[in-house]
Amino acid sequence: SAVISQKPSRDICQRGTSLTIQCQVDSQVTMMFWYRQQPGQSLTLIATANQGSEATYESGFVIDKFPISRPNLTFSTLTVSNMSPEDSSIYLCSGRDVQETQYFGPGTRLLVL
């Protein structure tokens, strides 16, 4: 099974600033995704991180607000730009292996003041 790590695990940020979250997978995955989860809620897909090309965003999420990179098969970053309190949430990185099993990182807890 794949083990996914994320940095930072949590952060408190001021509105108007940006935060970049890093995601590292310990083995090759075919696909990587970024999700957001509000406390007590389900997981909402932000985008699919495509290796070497622009991410594919879900409705309601745009590249200017959530730029994503995936320079290789095992690493991806998500930036939350120009943050507002509404961006406070848990951001989870996810990777899918060749057996189509999808694993999740521990999440990054973001609080925007």
């Binding site: 997981l43 897909l45 999740f104």
Partner: protein
């Protein structure tokens, strides 16, 4: 389209059984089941890839009815450790193994001594 889970919440005594259902309005390629405990990342339980498939994992098993676009998770002889929120995730048919995983709203399971 988000799959629909039922029930929203279940309270059990140790040793009792529970069934959690997941229903989609779209034709499905696969169904994934996860358990999430408070403050932790979702943990993969199982994936069902073929209609009619049934899988087991200790005392937790699941079935996938492709024609009805439904899946059910069965928890038998529940233990305290089964407490948490269970999510089903679905990948729509046509997108295959590169499709995005969309989650239901979750079912909260509480097992009491």
């Amino acid at each position: 389209q988000q799959p629909v889970q039922s029930p929203q919440a279940v309270i059990l005594r140790e040793g009792e059984d529970a069934v959690i259902n997941c229903s989609s309005s779209k034709a499905l390629y696969s169904v994934h089941w996860y358990r999430q405990k408070h403050g932790e990342a979702p943990v993969f339980l199982m994936i069902l890839l073929k209609g009619g498939e049934q899988k087991g994992h200790e005392k937790i098993s699941a079935s996938f009815n492709e024609k009805k676009q439904q899946s059910s998770l069965y928890l038998t002889a529940s233990q305290l450790s089964y407490s948490g929120t269970y999510f089903c995730g679905t990948v729509s048919r046509g997108s295959g193994n590169t499709g995005k995983l969309i989650f239901g709203q979750g079912t909260t399971l509480q097992v009491k001594p």
